[in-house]
Assembly symmetry: C2
Homo-oligomer: 243 residues x 2
Amino acid sequence: MDEPLRDSRTLAIQLRDRIADLIRGEGLKPGDKLPTEAQLTQRFKISRPALREALKLLEQNGLIYVEHGRGRFVSAISAVHVDRPITVFESVTDMAHHYGYRPLNKVLSIAEETPDKHVAAQLQLTATDRVIRIERLRLQGDEPILYCLDYVPRSIIPARLYDIDWSGSLLSLLEEYKNRPRMSAATVSAVMLPDEVVQRNDLRDFGPALLITETCFNAAGTPVNYAIDYHRGSHFSFSLVRK
Amino acid sequence: MDEPLRDSRTLAIQLRDRIADLIRGEGLKPGDKLPTEAQLTQRFKISRPALREALKLLEQNGLIYVEHGRGRFVSAISAVHVDRPITVFESVTDMAHHYGYRPLNKVLSIAEETPDKHVAAQLQLTATDRVIRIERLRLQGDEPILYCLDYVPRSIIPARLYDIDWSGSLLSLLEEYKNRPRMSAATVSAVMLPDEVVQRNDLRDFGPALLITETCFNAAGTPVNYAIDYHRGSHFSFSLVRK
């Protein structure tokens, strides 16, 4: 018995992931036929149009292919696990958990400041707006695995800075303030940590970092967070489908 | 007047990109209304179902949003350029061109060999199958910007190795042999080049690399190429939408 769908993503996307789980869970192989529409609607307790939308997504993602008149089949690409693609928007906390890490989140600094031009542009702020700058390091045991810099418009979190626990998920905090980010526009690159960060925080052994810089938007399309996350290269790699 | 659609991606995906170009080209801003379905079908000379599929993709990508009864609108995320997302499958040659590079492709070595376990698994080969291993360096002026290792099943390219020009696009070559890759399952991480590669090829200054490792599949879902591409961090960054 499958749980009802209830998270905040669209029904089609949730359903797509459920069907992908089903393909893997039941050990379907490339070339195997998918269960029929009737079986799937019954199993997930959803309407046929909702199912078709999800199946269309699976087809677009390359996980299944359609042979007209014959049905839907599992494609070769589905055999290659792309479990948690880089294109899924989630908190750094959730992402780290998924990798099996339970990192300690060490707050290095919190400040209210005037954003520089670049940060202001990303958050669509004017010259008089203020931001909260949150600098954090995540440690797995003794090992630093993530260095994160976040900017949030001050207007979104008007509380006193010292009244807030900054060591939790920023996404959850933004949700409390009715501004949970839903998606982001991101760039990914490979860099060394900035020298200044290395020296101030004793991070000489961090090595190459996968840098993800992203502007995160709430459901209304307003930017609510500009995040700069350095993922320690030796500890993270992301998967994706390209098509 | 727009060109007819004719590349090998699905119509919906091509159309999605055309409409995204239109949004940018005509300077539509977040919150602006999209042209009507009638205007779009006429402009792109396509059917309404095809258009709706493309619009659905744009909605899923977060570029537009729907207000029921009011129409489709440009979302905030569309203002953030995600021009050439990392999720688009394309040749390294095309990708480099898009960044404004016209690199010289230097072939370092070509060999036929028995694949190791990992490569064999990626290409779904058995113990007796052989692969072609292609090692190349791409130089922009004097600067090495890409170090690439490719494996292709020998059975796909049965010609004599020295009869082939390996300095061009491998995708085009595979197309000549009726096995053009259409999509891939990839991982992305940040690494330093392997020591042995650095020393053999004098690449001490390469710095951190964005490593993309991908298994590429032809239209039938058969793996035809396993590619290991080190993108010099100082020269490349990729964009994507996360949702």
